[in-house]
Symmetry: C2
Subunit: 385 residues, 2 copies
C-alpha cells in the first residue's frame, strides 16, 4: 500500500481524479522542511506550511486525550480555528508530559513562526511528535525558524512530509486534482516513538472554497482517522489540520477529502508497528451506527482477531467472541458462521475484508486495523527507556 | 506462583488460616472426574461436584457475553440459583455457538446428572469449556455420567480440578481451613482453546453457613475475577459457582472467600497464554471507584504497557498515555513521573506493582494483568483452525 495513491481497494476516489506530482501544493500554499537537530543524525525535523491567501478557511481536530501534549493545548485553547494561516511542526520530541516549561516552549515556537511570517500568533498552529516526557531543547529549534521560513516554496510538500516523520517507514503524502480543485495532504503515523507513544499527524491543503471547513473535516475524519486502530492506543499529540486557500474559486468536489484522508489513514495502519496486513471489519444490522462502531472497534482491537489476521486463520469464532463481549448484557443469541465473513483471513491478500451481520437494527460501521505480530512485541518490549 | 497456596504478595489471607490436603473437600461435598473422550488422549474431561446437605446455600455468576454458550443459558434461565445441589462440568468442548442442538445437549447433560444424583434438574448447574462452534458429541458424555456419579468421593477435589482443565499448565485448586470453617475451590483459566476462546471457570465449596451467598460471591468476585485481564477478551462460558453445605454450623470468616478467589484469579493470570509476569496497577485519586477501574483496566489492557511488563521497561509514559486515553474528554493535565510508579517494571520480580495517582477525587481500583509475549503471538497466530 506504500506505492502510488489510491492503491487500496477500500478507497473510492471521485470520478475525474488526477494524481499530481507529490512535491506540489495547491495554489496559495508554500511549505518547507529543515533540520534543527531534534532527531539526531541530521534528518529533517522541522516543517512549516503556510497559506498565503487572506482570509483562508481552516479547521483543526485534536486528540481527546486527557493528557494532551503542550502543542495540542496551545491549538485547543489559543488558536483562531477558522482562519489558521500556518502550521509549524517538529518531529523528534512530542513536548508531552513536559509541564509548564513545555507549554512555554510550544508558545515560543509558535511566536517565532508567527514573527517570521508576519502573522498573528493565534493564526499559527503548532504540532510536535516524538519522544515524550523529555524537555524540548527549544533554542536550536527557534534558531532554525527563520531559515525554515526563508526556504518556503510551492514545491515544498515532499520536504515537509519528510520533516514530520518519526519512525514511519515511508512518507505519507499525495497531491490530487479533481474538477479544477487541487488537494494535498501529508501525514505521519504510528511508528515507535520513544518512550513508547505513537502520534498521528495529518495536514491537508486545498485551493477550494471551504466555508464549512470544520463540518467537512469532521465528517471526513469520522470515516477515516476515527476508524483506524493499530493497537487501540490514543496519542497525546494527534492533530488533523485542514486549510483552504479558496484560490480555485470552486467548491471542494464531493468525496475528494474523504478519499484522501481514508488513503492516508490506511497507509498509517499498513505502516503500523510490525504490521503485515490490514483488516477491515464491517458490522451491519446493529441497533444503530454507534453500536455498530463499538462492536467493530472491539473486534478490530481484539488480540485474538489481530493474531488470526497475522496467522491467516479464518477463525470466525474469535469475531463472535469479541462481538459478544462488546454487546455484553444484551442477548444476540449465538453468532455462527452464517453471520460472519472471515474467509479472506486465509487468503494471500494484504487487505482482508471481514463482516459481521447482526439482527438488531440497521446500524453499520467499518473499522480498519493491523495485525498483531512478533515485530510489534519486539519493537515494544526490546526497546528500553 | 504455581506452588503452594498464598504465594502471591497481593493476597492477604485472614489470620489463622491452615492449608489442607488439596484432595479434600469441606464436609458435605463429594467430587469426581473421569474421562469421556471429549479431550482425546484419554485425559479426564468430565467432572461432577455434589453437595449432600439439604438445603444448601449457593450462588452462581455467569459471563455477561451477549453470545453466551448453551450451558450458560441453561444456568441463567433454568436454575434455582439459591439451592444448587450439584454441578457437572466438561472440558474439551465449550458447547458455544452450537445453536438449538447445543442447548438441547446442555439440558440433556444436566438431566442425566440430575437423574444419577436424584436431584431436580433445576438444582444442577452445567458448565462446559473447550472448542467452540463444534457440536458436542453428547452420547459418550451421557454414557459416562453414571460412572462419574458412582465415583464421587470426599477426596475427589484433585480429580475434579484436573477434569476441568483445558490447556492450563497446572491445575488451580486449594483447600483451606480457618476458624472451624473449610473452603475449597477449583478453577481453570485462559489457556488456548480451539479455535481461540478462553474460559474461566471456578467452583467453590464451603461448610460455612451462607444465607447471603450471592452477595458474598458478588463482592469477592468484584475484587478478584472481575479485576484480572489476560488479553481483555470476555469469554462465552465464564462461570463462578459457590456452594455452602452449612455443616460446620459457622459463619464464613471475613476475608477467606476473597483470599481464595484472588489467589485463583492471580494463578489464572500467571498461567495466561504466554504470560511470564503479572502486573498490578492501582489507580487512586480518581473521581470515583468506577472511574478508577476504567482507567486501571485501560492501562492493564494496553499492549504498550503489557510489552513494557515483558521488556522490564520502567516506562511511565505508557501508563500516562493509557490513562489519558481512558479519561478522554477530561483534562487531567500532564501526568509525569511524580504521579506514576513504574520502577518495579525494571526489577526481577514475577509480580510487578504499578501505581497511578490522579487528582480528581478519592476513587481507587486495582487490576491484575499479564504481559504480552512472543509466545502469545505464537499460540494465537500459528494455530490455524
Amino acid at each position: 500500500m506504500s506505492g502510488p495513491f489510491f492503491r487500496s481497494r477500500w478507497v473510492e476516489p471521485p470520478p475525474r481524479v488526477v494524481q499530481r506530482d507529490p512535491t506540489g501544493l495547491p495554489d496559495g500554499f508554500r511549505a518547507a522542511g529543515v533540520s534543527c537537530g531534534l532527531k539526531g543524525g541530521g534528518g529533517t525535523d522541522l516543517g512549516l506550511i503556510v497559506c498565503d491567501a487572506e482570509p483562508a478557511d481552516s479547521a483543526i481536530l485534536l486528540t481527546a486525550s486527557a493528557t494532551a501534549a503542550a502543542p495540542v493545548r496551545v491549538c485547543r485553547d489559543r488558536l483562531r480555528q477558522g482562519s489558521i494561516g500556518a502550521a509549524i511542526v517538529n518531529s523528534g520530541n512530542a513536548n508531552a508530559a513536559t509541564g509548564d516549561q513545555g507549554l512555554a516552549d510550544a508558545l515560543a515556537l509558535r511566536e517565532s513562526a508567527a514573527s517570521a511570517l508576519g502573522l498573528d500568533p493565534d493564526r499559527v498552529a503548532v504540532a510536535e511528535t516524538g519522544v515524550i516526557g523529555v524537555p524540548l531543547e527549544i533554542e536550536p529549534v527557534l534558531a532554525a525558524v527563520a531559515g525554515l521560513a526563508g526556504s518556503l516554496e510551492p514545491e515544498g510538500a515532499v520536504a515537509f512530509s519528510e520533516a514530520i516523520m518519526t519512525t514511519d517507514q515511508w512518507p505519507k503524502r499525495c497531491t490530487l486534482e479533481s474538477d479544477g480543485v487541487t488537494i494535498s495532504a501529508q501525514a505521519k503515523g504510528a511508528g515507535m516513538i520513544e518512550p513508547g507513544f505513537a502520534t498521528m499527524l495529518c495536514l491537508v491543503q486545498t485551493d477550494a472554497l471551504l466555508p464549512d471547513a470544520e463540518a467537512r473535516l469532521r465528517s471526513a475524519v469520522s470515516t477515516s482517522f476515527e476508524r483506524i486502530t493499530v493497537d487501540g492506543q490514543m496519542s497525546t499529540n494527534d492533530t488533523v489540520l485542514l486549510q483552504a486557500s479558496g484560490r480555485s474559486g470552486k467548491e471542494l468536489p464531493t468525496g475528494l477529502l474523504e478519499a484522501v484522508l481514508l488513503q492516508l489513514a490506511l497507509e498509517i495502519v499498513a505502516d503500523g508497528e510490525g504490521a503485515t496486513r490490514v483488516g477491515r471489519i464491517e458490522v451491519s444490522g446493529a441497533a444503530d451506527d454507534r453500536e455498530a462502531e463499538v462492536v467493530a472497534r472491539r473486534i478490530a482491537n481484539s488480540p485474538l482477531v489481530k493474531t488470526a489476521l497475522l496467522g491467516r486463520d479464518p477463525n470466525w469464532g474469535r469475531i463472535a467472541q469479541a462481538a459478544g463481549a462488546a454487546l455484553a448484557g444484551a442477548d444476540v443469541g449465538e453468532l455462527g458462521p452464517e453471520s460472519i465473513s472471515a474467509e479472506e483471513l486465509a487468503g494471500d491478500g494484504d487487505e482482508v475484508e471481514l463482516g459481521l451481520v447482526l439482527d438488531r437494527g440497521s446500524g453499520t460501521a467499518a473499522v480498519y486495523f493491523s495485525d498483531l505480530t512478533h515485530e510489534y512485541i519486539r519493537i515494544n518490549a526490546e526497546y528500553t527507556t
